[in-house]
Point group: D2
């Protein structure tokens, strides 16, 4: 008889919007929550015995009920509360994983004044992934899908060449990526909101100011600044997909093209990912 060597189940894309009204100033949280549960469900798999199986519909209910009954300010806190709840209520579970994606809405300015009730959305998202086995809890915060581009301060030279290498060294390349990062807090007790803002700013400023010799080089510099600035963070994982801007070849038409007109492409794209850990 085959064995279930790993399993998880849950509900994905539970969409929750929370509005807190303090007079004319409203706070808006726009979340998409994924709940994943693990446990000993052999009888469900093998025999179709559902007696230990909590319906995924109940997971959805739980997210909405918890959002109402336990006030939270930051998505990490919400994830922690959900994790604790599932593991406390349901002893058949060995592990819970709560993933929260927050769509970020900024207040709209009218004249110089930020409005209390009106928002437009930012391109990037904020994430939190909370996992627990009942004893240990991991809090991983993240930034996802922030499109950034620099037109200076990036080279790619001196690389390895083999017989199939045709790329020419580039002394001034357009570096374009959609930045995603996640980082692990050593203890689940920091002021999550201000840390997130700080890490986002550190990542972005380092991308901008670093004299890049490669995506590897930039990635490490970004991670290094985060770990240097925030000792409560134990490791950082950064993902840099990067599509190429290719100089348009206008020579058939008798035109020079001194780094001005580029063909943007989406595929293929380079992808570099690394985890950098505090020693």
């Amino acid at each position: 008889m085959p064995t279930v060597s790993s399993n998880s189940y849950g509900k994905s894309r539970i969409r929750l919007v929370k509005v807190v009204r303090r007079g004319d100033r409203h706070d808006l949280k726009d979340l998409t929550v994924n709940v994943r549960l693990e446990g000993e469900f052999d009888s469900a798999f093998v025999e179709g015995d559902n007696r230990l199986l909590l319906p995924t519909d109940t997971l959805k209910n739980t997210v909405y009920v918890m959002a109402r009954s336990r006030p939270f300010d930051e998505i990490e806190e919400f994830g922690l509360a959900l994790c604790r709840y599932f593991l406390a209520e349901h002893r058949q579970l060995s592990r819970a994983r709560i993933e929260v994606h927050q769509r970020l809405w900024n207040r709209v300015p009218v004249g110089a004044k930020l409005q209390g009730h009106a928002f437009s959305s930012a391109p990037e998202g904020r994430t939190a992934v909370i996992t627990s086995n009942g004893e240990r809890v991991a809090v991983v915060a993240g930034l996802e899908n922030l499109p950034v581009l620099k037109t200076s301060g990036a080279t790619f030279e001196g690389f390895l060449r083999d017989t199939l290498t045709t790329l020419r060294p580039d002394r001034e390349r357009i570096l374009s990526t959609t930045l995603s990062a996640r980082w692990t807090y050593l203890k689940p007790e920091v002021t999550f909101g201000s840390y997130w803002q700080g890490v986002r700013q550190a990542l972005l400023e380092t991308f901008v100011q670093h004299e890049s010799r490669s995506l590897h080089h930039t990635l490490f510099a970004m991670a290094d600044v985060v770990l240097s600035s925030y000792e409560e963070i134990g490791e950082v994982t950064i993902s840099l997909p990067s599509s190429h801007h290719q100089l348009a070849d206008l020579s058939p038409f008798g035109l020079e093209n001194p780094d001005e007109i580029f063909v943007a492409t989406d595929e293929p794209y380079a992808l570099i990912e690394a985890t950098v850990t505090r020693d």
Copy 2:
């Protein structure tokens, strides 16, 4: 023998990035261009005679060559130049239509200083559609896909009820939409960049400040402000798709939910579109 009663052909999604370097300050244009041509191509259709057919590959070449050889500041100017070029060079054409989608990149601030060479992208896009038959030229500028949301200042009451109506009047609804608009200039000669910024701000501020009785009501108010503010604009078309934020029903769990926890949905969604014209 059947007749070709209408036809067009062209190249879509020509992706062009233009970088202009003025010392440390770089300007970035990130464009996707669609070229559509119309003309008398009966022999190509019926007989497979290609002698009047300019390859779509050439349309692509033309976009890159024109971007290099004719400097432009605004996408409307680029579209106008392309339209003129195709109609002047190719007498078999009866009409040219150039559609430009501009991805907007904002300079990244480091400290208080905006960087000259580093950008992050905005969620919304800017568009221009230029059409010409050789005699008359239409310039339609646009804003696309700006996500906005307000948590106050919107009601929906007093509407028509038939036997299938179950919706209840709403005195405080979340109004959420992804704003797209396009507007026609009476003459193709305005300062396109500053007009675009002004119209964008007018649309956004009106969405925020208008006391909305319906999406129809808001749409008209937005169009009205644009036409009142800019007499060079002849008409405005606005599209407001709006998905519903539904109050989560927590009564099965003994909880009240005073306009706080909502279920966001993407479908179905309401869609209202109208063109408002200067008298």
Copy 3:
């Protein structure tokens, strides 16, 4: 005061699945419906007077109620019934437009036997657009997003060359497109299901068998066969987006590439669209 020169509103992406069980054989319809209504809604736009405005939520209810209360076999019939209903019940409307997208599910074979209750989905979709102003009704059926590709039987030669043309004639090109077509019935009374199957087969077989000199040429041949075969069809509109398969340049590596290895690209792509009408 500006004028509302055109307007429409409605509900989009109403998702409806209908299951009819005849013993062990079940029939499945998987539909996405868009309802668009037009009328004289000046008071709603200008004054926020909602008294003539039927909520879009009611449009959604109507779709589900009609699906239950009026049996239908084909999506054209369903669209016709919805059109009639809205225009009969609501005199403030000047025009109704019902758009139905049907996801196609094929019965799964087990052994040689098609199952009565199990389905896998086809890539392409079937569409119907019904419009009516109360007096005249137009029934437009369609096929959308059928990916097809041929590796022989297509050339592109003898085309127009201008100073920016670099494309070389191609005597054997890969023709790859995602076929979409729609056609108008002269009377809204045919056996829609069998016509749809026939037109689909005619379009596909013509694409395959036609000796193509260009996309224009193929498009016309496809439309011509449909109009010749079905005299109840008055016109056909076909859309052929076509992305390029570019021969990989392996010469830097000392390799020939005799029409074997291609780089597929999604953008830019050629797009040709035409409407062919019965004389």
Copy 4:
């Protein structure tokens, strides 16, 4: 100084189409390849020293060159060849991972005859992931995104209820999922093509014929059949995302709805994943 605890880089979405012509019968392979490499790249990360870094552009070149110079029939063979090549040529690498997604094109029938040169695409894809550290090689084949639905033969009853459970038992539910699976060969030497066809058919037939008490139950049954039928397969991982078809509530309109009219939704959705291993 922080440490790079894990890293990978490579090129993603390399799009390759291979056409082999044997007289009138052409074979078509439509592949998207992702190359991921791991190794000791500390100097690249920390110091920006690129001397061991093979450009991702070269990875792309390699894919096209290998496709031309080493004939292959199945994607697993192609992945194996690429893995071997990278590890043999580049000693700085500790691990290579080649992921191939194959878009499946079926021959089009004209009359009763399958055409040799014309194809339409299937909805599902075929995948292969080959990983190697130079000593051990893992070959994981897969099926991705096959939409299937059954209207009978599935219940969900007798499940666990807690205080937040409102779901009612269902004795006849619509089971709808987009099936993805991957399986590991114990030795990388089977006839990959016929195994893939066999596993696909086993998964599909089991989904159809199994009397399902839950998604867990169905998933295990599917894995069990694969492991029983193919002793060269060591484990199977199956992923079953399942969105809900909710019976439309027509009671406000005085209508019954005996399992006929459903509202389809895409989110939230249930997701169950498990790996089943041969004992």
